[in-house]
């Protein structure tokens, strides 16, 4: 099932309620979440489009958080799909990742191992001695 233009317009309004701007963070509207970011989500999670379309169709008149809450109570799975789509579309956006200081699951050097400070933390553990129970 593909989302209609009307579904996307509804989703844009719902996303704006869910993710307003502020605190140095872009709003959902600012990143046009209902466009390319949503397409990216649906390309990897096509299973969301059915419940998402259903939820948007039922939530056309929702105008505030109280209305969204009521729609969510009426269709938990639909709201879950909306939350997953909005959350992932938002947090995959490069400008959002930059704003929260998240480099993504980046590669780092693991060979540094335990530091001298870590070894010092361990000292009391081995000083307390044996823990295992003799069989």
């Amino acid at each position: 099932m593909t989302l209609t233009a009307e579904d996307r317009a509804t989703l844009a309004r719902l996303a704006a309620l869910m993710v307003p701007g502020g605190a140095g963070m872009p709003s959902a509207a600012r990143i046009s979440l209902q466009g390319a970011p949503l397409d990216r989500v649906l390309a990897h999670a096509p299973q969301l489009s059915g419940p998402l379309g259903r939820f948007c169709a039922a939530a056309r008149d929702v105008a505030d958080m109280a209305g969204l809450d009521a729609a969510a109570q009426a269709d938990r799975d639909g709201f879950e799909a909306l939350a997953v789509a909005v959350g992932n579309a938002y947090f995959m956006a490069p400008q959002v990742r930059h704003a929260i200081g998240y480099p993504g699951q980046e590669a780092r050097d693991a060979s540094v191992g335990l530091t001298a400070g870590d070894q010092a933390l361990l000292t009391p553990v081995w000083q307390r001695g044996r823990l295992w129970r003799a069989p």
Binding site: L17, M18, V19, P20, G22, A23, M25, R40, V41, H44, A45, Q47, M65, L68, D69, A72, A83, V84, G87, N88, F91, M92, R97, I100, G101, Y102, G104, Q105, E106, A107, R108, D109, A110, S111, V112, G113, L114, T115, G117, D118, L121, L122, P124, V125, W126, R128, G129, R130, L131, W132, R133, A134, P135
Partner: protein, 529 residues
């Protein structure tokens, strides 16, 4: 036309890989049947931004959610816990956390020490050389000298970094005077044989896109294939065949196009895990004189306590993998109101979505709307969890049967699970959750959330073809040889008499190595079909 092999192995996960490599190295012909396919490292999403999205479906550990034809569905309507697994070359290890724990000495002597369940036919000291052997193959990283083990549980490679999360958690444990130790993981901290060094991407649970995590497709299969093993993928075994004397004579399998084949074999080894193995034994009507095939399923009920902190812990950094472990409350203390115990593992919180999943139970307005950014800033990168693996004692009513109204993509009956978490386990988890809250408080958490029993936690599948000396009360002998069918063997976690409170793969592989070496040693006297 009937194909022929000396040994047919069902399943290419860690246990099947150990069995195949040893057999073929001893010059014995092996054919392995695996219902899944090879999964190349590039297929995993760990290094891509979509990682958190695809773990909800494509890389979800529950086969019912993935819904792929190569997995089989599982009827879990009568189960408190969903069994989790993955069909592919390497088995569930492709998506395992690689937490590497030996069982404790007491785990092999539960009846003698605590008067419940059964002792194992062998002990920690018997298994120790086999642990060391498989740990070499798996490139296990850890810190030697862990006082929770008699020999300190040495590992071939030094520990992975514990990072800010580990330091924070460790400081809390030290404040309480409780045991912790840097995590041991089947993840190399240095280049190791065919494994790349870990780059701490922290996506181990959805597959390692960097070729670091030790999985049998890298650690075992290249050598086994080079030495002549034959591995058939997309090959689902339907049943084990027997001859007129009741000995296993081979297997019937079905390919992805639905065509049936017969593979004749002198010996059949089941390595299909604690659900797949009893499923096949039940479908074949074999080895069940004791009535215990499929019974005593143990899955390790799991609880978590997550803490949020004021400072930046970079809690998306891996491994995931266990950063720390604790065995402080592992052993039985009857004054706590339950028997046996649990092991803890400290885990990072993952990306921004993983974190939200952990705290997503509150009202909508707490998570979205004006609160959304404040919540993200206060929480993201600032949290970790203590996971609690509770020892699950065997109960004959916790069992795998064949479903009469659910089939896999080949029309074969799916497994149906009946499984209830016992009162002992519930009391155990309550106690441990309370202690883990204290550990979080001692570490300085400003907010603590707990989940007492996660439904999607059946990572560890054990007990459904129990080993023992008496054919009336066990399915196999101590080497996994079926009492009723002497050339049919079980070499996965199905044979475990008890489950311990430890992640089981180290023990599954060590026991498989012990069993297959015995099979090789005794094969001259083997009865074959």
């Amino acid at each position: 036309m009937t194909d022929r092999t000396e040994v047919a192995i069902v399943g290419s996960g860690p246990s099947g890989a150990v069995a195949a490599l040893e057999l073929v190295s001893a010059g014995i012909g092996v054919t392995v049947l695996e219902q899944g396919d090879w999964v190349p490292a590039e297929a995993f999403d760990g290094a891509r931004p979509e990682w958190e999205l695809t773990q909800l479906k494509q890389w979800h550990p529950n086969p019912n959610i993935r819904g792929r034809p190569e997995d089989y569905p599982i009827d879990t309507a009568a189960s408190d816990v969903n069994p989790l697994m993955f069909a592919g070359v390497g088995g569930a290890a492709l998506i395992y956390g690689a937490h590497w724990m030996r069982f404790m000495p007491s785990d092999f002597r539960v009846r003698s020490l605590d008067g419940v369940a059964e002792d194992w036919p062998f002990g920690y000291d018997d298994l120790a050389p086999f642990y060391a052997y498989v740990e070499e193959a798996m490139g296990v990283s850890g810190e030697d000298g862990n006082p929770a083990y008699p020999d300190g549980a040495p590992t071939p490679l030094p520990a992975l970094p514990i990072g800010r999360v580990g330091r924070r958690a460790a400081a809390g444990m030290n404040r309480l005077g409780w045991h912790w130790w840097p995590g041991s993981n089947a993840i190399p901290s240095r280049p190791w044989r065919r494994l790349q060094p870990c780059v701490l991407r922290g996506t181990c649970g959805t597959g390692c896109s960097d070729g670091a995590k030790a999985t049998p497709d890298r650690t075992h299969w290249p050598d086994a294939l080079a030495r002549g093993a034959r591995l058939l993928t997309g090959a689902r075994v339907v049943r084990i065949e027997t001859d007129a004397q009741g000995r296993a004579s081979g297997v019937i399998w079905v390919d992805r196009q639905g065509a049936r084949h017969r593979l004749a074999a002198d010996v059949v080894i089941l390595c299909a895990n604690g659900v797949g193995t009893p499923r096949l034994l039940l479908a074949s009507g074999l080895a069940n004189r004791s009535g215990l095939v499929g019974r005593r399923l143990m899955m390790h009920p799991f609880a978590t306590v997550a803490g949020r902190f004021d400072d930046d812990l970079e809690s998306w950094v891996g491994p995931a993998g266990q950063i720390l472990t604790s065995c402080e409350f592992y052993e039985t203390d009857a004054s706590r109101g339950f028997l046996r115990g649990a092991k803890w593992n400290c885990m990072p919180a993952g990306g921004p979505q993983g974190f939200r999943a952990g705290y997503g139970n509150g009202p909508l307005t707490d998570a979205w709307g004006p609160a959304f950014h404040a919540r993200t800033r206060a929480s993201f990168g600032r949290s970790f969890e203590w996971g609690i693996i509770g020892e699950d004692l065997p109960d004959p009513d916790n069992r795998v049967r064949l479903a009469d109204d659910l089939t896999d993509s080949d029309g074969l009956p799916a497994p149906r699970i009946a499984y209830r978490v016992s009162d002992n386990t519930r009391r155990m988890l309550d106690f441990h959750v309370a202690r883990a809250r204290e550990a979080m408080q001692a570490a300085g958490a400003v907010e603590i959330a707990e989940t007492r029993l996660i439904r999607d936690c059946g990572w560890h599948l054990m007990g459904t073809a129990v080993m023992g000396a008496d054919p009336e009360t066990s399915v196999t002998d101590e080497y996994g040889r079926c009492h009723d069918v002497p050339n049919l063997h079980v070499m996965d976690g199905s044979t475990f008499p008890t489950s311990s409170g430890m992640n089981p793969t180290a023990t599954i592989m060590a026991v498989a190595a012990r069993s297959v070496l015995n099979l090789i040693d005794t094969r001259a006297g083997l009865e074959v079909a």
